[in-house]
Structures are given as C-alpha cells and as structure tokens.
C-alpha cells in the first residue's frame, strides 16, 4: 500500500507541470470549503483533532487513516467517491456530524470529497474502489424475523448489542474504536440514530461491509465461507429492523394520561398488562450544557412515557435504554475513561464516586397562569418546581422542590409518591404513582383536562453522570383525560336539528310565496 501511495504521489508531482488547472481549482475549492466548515472538528490537517474534538464522543473522523465506517465496499477497502459524498450529505445521526446536503453546494461537496482523499496517502489517484454487489432485500414475514432472531443468536450479535438489542451485551462495556476511544454498541431499538441509514437495506449493507474503525465486524466473509446464506443475513437485517418502531417517533408535546374505565385497576408496576393498551410518547433528551459543569456525552438520549389515571390516582411509566444498572464494577473502566476524555473539565477534579442511575420528573409547584411556566432548569425563586426523584440504589421515590439549579431539596417524610423500578435487557422501567390531590401544599395537584407542564432529567451513573452532568428535556405537557362531557353527544344533534328546521322553514316560505305570486 505504502509503495503504491508513493508511486501515486510521484505521479501527481509529475502531472503538476502539465498544468491541470481545473484540478487545482477543484482542490482550491475543496480546501476553502474544508477549512471553513470542517476543520474546527476534523482539524486543519484532517487528523480529527480540531479544537472542538474533545467535546464529542465518538470523536471526529481522522481522515489520515482513510478508515470509513459507512461504505459500499468490502471491509478493509477504501470508500467510493459516492460513499464519501453520501456521508457528507447524510451526516452521522446521533453524533455531532450534521447532514450537509442543503448547506453546501454540489460543487463544494464534490471538491470536498476529492480534498478529503488528499489527507491520506492511501487513496489511489484515478481508480475508484469497487462497491460490493448487495442485491435487493428479501421479503419479510414473521418466519423471516424468527429466522433472523435465530441467526442474531448464532452469529453472536447479542455479545455487544444485547439480547433485546439495546446495546447492553456483555462486551459493551469494553468496546473501543480503532483510535482508542470508548464506543457504545448501537442501541438497535433506536434506528433513527444509525449511521448510514435506518432502513433494512442500510442494516444489511452495514452487516456486509462492517463498520471499519469500530468493533462492528463484516459478515461477507461468513457468506463467502458458506457458513451462512444470503437469505439468512437478510433475515438478520429484517430482525434488527423489527427491533425499532416502524416509524421514527415524532415529537408530540402532550402525554395523555388515559382515564381508566370504571372498575379497571390502576397499574402500579412496570409489568402490568394495562400498559400495553397505552401508546408511549417519545421525549428526546440532550446533554445538560446550560450551567456548569456541562456534560457533552449524555447516555440517555430519550425516554418513552405512558400515563393513566382513575380519577383518584395517577401512574406514570417512564422507560429508557441504559446498558446497565449503575454502579456496576464491569463498567468502572468505561466510566473512568469517559470522565477523563470529555471536555470541558468543569466538574470538581476528584474522581466521582460510584453513582447510581437517576431520573427526575419535574412539574411546576403551582399550575401556571396563562403561558408563564417556571424556568425549565429547576425553576427560579418566583416560580418554584415540584420534583419526583428516583435513584437506582434506593427503593423509594422522593418528592422535592427547587427554586433554581442547586437549590433542590427533598422531603423525608409525608411522601405521597410511590415508585417501582426495574432494570432488564438494557432498559429501565420506572413507574411513579401518586394521588391526584395531596394535603401537602408544596405538591402540585393534578387537575384533569389541563395541560400540566412536565419535563425530565436522567443520569447514567456509570457513564460518569451525576449532579448537573446528565441529560434533560424541555417542557412537555401531561394531560389527564376527562370523562367525555355530555356536550359532545348533545350539541351536534341539536345543531343539526336547528339547521334542518331552519332549512325546511325557509324552503316552505319561499315556495309559498312563489305559489302566491303565481296565483295573483
């Protein structure tokens, strides 16, 4: 490889005096575009060490290694120009790499593709690597998905991705990319964060090509060795696709707490059948980067919320992916690495002790008048917030209040909220239950039919998260369903009756008058 690189370099030197003006112009545009838009993360020299790199995990790609995870070519091969172009256009969801499709012009992107290749001596001058022939997807059925599940176990996907695909396999805590940084096994239930695309074709391609530079291997070799058939590999892709929702969850501002019919039992545990009747609402969470110390590597990137009430009590089920129940000695290496490499170092310098996983649900202390809501980051002195706090290392939930970050205080008696939490297969499921009304005046009363502001804070202790370093959401709303008012059944028929009578009356009047005028 090195020899060919050297030859290519010599050739390119030889060609220069020939006056390939267009080529130079392209390279000029590529460099200008790169320096302006890419260099602060990927570095002026393309080695992935720009000034912002330390704030990101995974780190920006090091172009000097010519190692690209999303390709159409065999593992170990270079990407095609089309592959690079697609990576620029799509970005890498779930990372800091944005999609550039409508930011840069076509010419800029083309020039950029050529310029990226100049960072590495591995790229040949004038030959384009050959993509794999990937074929088209096989049909999908329950049998195919069951077959895929069998292969998922046989080829040991679960070792990293976990039994239910939430990135919680036994090796997940030890995964490193080729540049020595910790890397999370993909959570297969969140396909909207897949690099390279969310569809079954994209998953199959990743299986065939591997994600070079990461621990994700390729399975083309297994096919070529005859250990597995192409249909079987497609079945794996279909199974993986089936782990994520059919459609990427949209953002809905309102979580509806379903009103139970008379006699139905309120679910107070995560494994209650009643939850299956209720559709979950997805709420995205992002790192807390508003007050010191900030946290740019949040583990919890979203929670699913379900709620129900029976007129007396309310239950809220919050579930989210988290590979382990912190603190867990298996993950202590992961934790010390992440806390060591993430900028900015605003937290106290001493090693953070074993920290649990945590969840805080936030409400205003009083229902706000009009549009006024407490500041979403724990309120302020004029508009306090009311909190439910759950921690993985204790069996109870605490009620508390805050008047700004750092002023949180939790009650130790008179608790009205109860909690049940369980970790299994890379997922926390936590159910809070509370009477709608309590005697404590610092507790918010849950009134039906009103949009009650609600937001979430989450921490993965073994990802180095505690205190202000965790993830959070903005305000959403909890709406307790009301019994359907009789108005809904009565008003439309009355309106129809009036309209009908009026129409009839008018027509009769006009007809009568017409008759009279006819007679006279």
């Amino acid at each position: 490889m090195a020899i060919w690189g050297g030859v290519a370099f010599a050739l390119s030197l030889a060609m220069m005096p020939l006056g390939l003006g267009a080529l130079q112009e392209d390279e000029q545009l590529g460099k200008v575009t790169y320096d302006r838009w890419c260099s602060e993360c990927h570095g002026v020299d393309g080695d992935g060490t720009g000034s912002a790199a330390g704030y990101m995990l995974p780190r920006p790609r090091d172009f000097t290694l010519a190692m690209y995870n999303i390709r159409t070519t065999a593992s170990g091969d270079l990407p095609t120009d089309q592959d690079l172009l697609r990576a620029i256009n799509m970005g890498a969801p779930g990372t800091a790499m944005p999609a550039w499709d409508d930011v840069l012009t076509e010419a800029e992107k083309q020039a950029l593709v050529q310029y990226l290749k100049t960072f590495s001596r591995f790229f040949p001058l004038d030959e384009n690597p050959v993509p794999l022939v990937l074929g088209s997807p096989t049909g999908v059925s329950e049998e195919v998905i069951a077959e895929g599940r069998g292969q998922y176990e046989a080829i040991e996907c679960w070792k990293c991705h976990g039994d239910q695909g939430r990135g919680d396999g036994e090796s997940a805590a030890t995964l490193m990319d080729d540049t020595g940084f910790p890397i999370a096994a993909a959570d297969l239930t969140e396909n909207w964060f897949f690099n390279g695309g969310a569809d079954v074709e994209d998953i199959y391609r990743a299986l065939r090509t591997g994600l070079d530079g990461s621990p994700m291997p390729n399975f083309s070799d297994v096919l070529n060795a005859g250990v597995m058939t192409d249909e079987e590999l497609w079945a794996v892709a279909h199974y993986v696709r089936s782990l994520a929702p059919e459609d990427t969850p949209g953002i809905s501002e309102v979580v509806l707490a379903k009103l139970l019919t008379e006699g139905a039992e309120l679910a107070t545990s995560f494994d209650d059948q009643a939850w299956e009747e209720i559709e979950g609402t997805y709420i995205p969470l992002v790192g807390q980067i508003i007050v010191k110390p900030r946290w740019f590597d949040p583990r919890v990137d979203g929670v699913w919320v379900k709620a129900m009430h029976n007129g007396d009590d309310i239950s809220v089920l919050v579930s989210w992916s988290d590979p382990n129940n912190s603190p867990d000695p298996l993950w202590s290496d992961w934790k010390s690495q992440v806390t060591r490499i993430m900028e900015p170092r605003e937290a106290a310098d001493n090693e953070i002790d074993a920290a649990p996983d945590q969840l805080v649900v936030q409400f205003p202390m009083q229902m706000p008048e009009g549009m006024e809501r407490p500041y979403f980051l724990k309120g302020d002195s004029r508009r306090p917030v009311y909190l439910w706090e759950w921690k993985s290392d204790r069996q109870t939930a605490l009620e508390g209040e805050a008047r700004g970050v750092g002023t949180e205080s939790f009650q130790d008696e008179g608790q009205d909220v109860s909690v049940k939490g369980m970790h299994s297969d890379g997922q926390w499921q936590v159910v809070f239950t509370r009477p709608l009304l309590t005697s404590d005046e610092n507790d918010l009363d849950f009134i039906t039919g009103e949009a009650i502001p609600m937001s979430f804070f989450a921490w993965d202790g073994d990802n180095g998260e505690s205190g202000n370093q965790g993830s959070l959401s903005s305000w959403y709303f909890l709406l307790l369903e009301e019994p359907t008012s009789t108005k809904v059944y009565v008003a439309p028929p009355i309106a129809m009756l009036i309209a009908g009578a009026l129409g009839f009356f008018i027509v009769r009047r006009v007809q009568k008058r017409e008759m009279e005028s006819f007679r006279s």
Partner: protein, 263 residues
C-alpha cells in the same frame, strides 16, 4: 356542467373552494417547491381569511341588481322548481349534516398543548451588568472590528462557537445542531434574515451574555435554553464569536445609524 359554473353563484362556489385549498394546503406546500420554508396556518387565521373572501364575494354579487338576481336565481330554483326536488332534498339533508360535523369538531375533546407566544426580539436595555461591572450597550459597535487581525478574531470566534454553540445552533448556523430537537423553542437560525441580520452586534452581545435567564418580562415564558454565557466566556470571546457568526452566515450586522434613521 359548464352551465352550473358560469353563473355568479357557481363562480362564487369555485372561488371559495380555490381560496380554501390555497389557504389550507397551498401556503404549506407550494413555497417548499421553490426551496422556501413554510407551514400550515392556524385554523383561526384560516377562518378569518375565508370570511374575508366570502365578504368580498357578497360585495361583488350585490354590486348591481342584475348580478344579484342572477346570483339568487339558482338558489331560488333549487327551492321551488318541481324538477329540482332531488337537489332540494339533498340540500336539506346535507347542510344539517355538515353543521353537525362542524359542531362535533368544535366540542370534541382535544389534546393540544397550550399556545406559547413570545416576543422573539424583546427591547434591549441601554446598559447591562456584565460579570459584575456596568457595560454600556447603546451605540456600541464590536470593538474587535477596529483592533487586531480580523482573521485571528474570526478563528478565535470559530473556536468559541464550535466548543460551545455547536450542539444547538449547528455547523450550518441554521439552528439544527444535534441537540436542537431537545429544546422548545428551538435554537435560533443565524442564516435566517430575521435573527442576527436585523440586529446590532451589541444586541447580540446582550442576548449571548445574558441568555434565556436574562430575558425581560416580554420574553416569557422563559423556556429558552440559551445559557448566560457571561458565566463561561470573556468579553473578548463573546465579541469574537459574534464576529464569526456574521462572517460565517454571510450577514452584515445592523448598524446604529440605520437604527437611528428608523426612530
């Protein structure tokens, strides 16, 4: 068919129909064909526009006696002509059904979030308290534009931006960083002509330094996730990132002369 639409009544119905389609769907879907962002208009606004169109039509058909007679004729015929008995019955059934549906729509329970209106650019103070000292803002230009090397200020600003602003406001400065979906209201797009392009640099300095918590009363309901950057950045860092934003987005800051002319 043509006969039905050539009279003033038919034309009115066609105009109302076209107006409805344009307002309900045209506004949302036509501008994106030309690369302009758009979205659906609220029902209340739609109703207002439709009423305006209807009044316009009434003004037109009542403009003179002949037109008014022509407008009424088909209506009258539908009510009295023995041959139009079917139309008559259909109308007497359909109109009440329509009224019933509309009533149901307005009384059925909805699960919409309450509206969140806010003043996007509240009036700035003349001076602020910046990191414990008083700082004049009125009439102030970016001091970095008159000292040192613009190239260096730009690079310094870019570093500050990528280390701090990037997750929300994004590489493309369009408010689409990888954290953007976590916040409501979403981060400002500096590419938009309605943000930094119409503000002075000292206004931007105020918003950067004080962030969401420093918004005045009209900035309610205080959901902005913008940090108060005076807790993180020096004065020079803020001025440099402002300079970078204008340069990178290709906008010119509004100057105090323009501001003066307007008042």
């Amino acid at each position: 068919m043509r006969k039905h639409f050539s009279g003033p009544l038919g034309k009115s119905v066609v105009i109302l129909g076209v107006a409805y389609l344009l307002l309900e769907f045209g506004i949302a879907y036509i501008p994106p064909l030309f690369g302009v962002d758009s979205g659906p208009i609220p029902d209340s606004v739609l109703l207002q526009y439709m009423v305006t169109v209807a009044i316009g039509i009434l003004l037109w058909v009542s403009f003179n006696e002949t037109l008014w007679e022509e407008f009424k004729a088909p209506l009258h015929a539908a009510m009295v002509e023995p041959r139009q008995r079917r139309t008559r019955v259909a109308l007497i059934v359909l109109v009440p059904v329509l009224v019933g549906l509309m009533t149901f729509n307005s009384v059925r329970p909805s699960i919409a979030a309450p509206p969140s209106l806010r003043s996007i650019h509240p009036a700035p103070p003349g001076q602020i308290d910046f990191q414990g000292r008083s700082m004049e803002l009125a009439g102030v230009e970016n001091p970095l534009r008159s000292v040192g090397s613009p190239e260096e200020h730009y690079l310094e600003g870019r570093r500050v931006y990528y280390q701090n602003c990037l997750p929300c406001h994004g590489d493309g400065l369009a408010g689409r960083g990888h954290y953007a979906q976590g916040f409501n209201p979403g981060p400002a797009s500096f590419q938009d002509v309605g943000t930094i392009a119409q503000l002075t640099e000292s206004y931007v300095f105020w918003r950067v330094a004080k962030g969401g918590p420093g918004l005045p009363n009209e900035g309610a309901p205080w959901n902005s996730a913008m940090p108060a950057w005076e807790d993180f950045l020096t004065e020079d860092e803020i001025w440099s990132v402002i300079l970078f934003m204008y340069e990178q987005a290709g906008h010119e800051p509004r100057t105090w002369e323009e501001e003066g002319e307007e008042h």
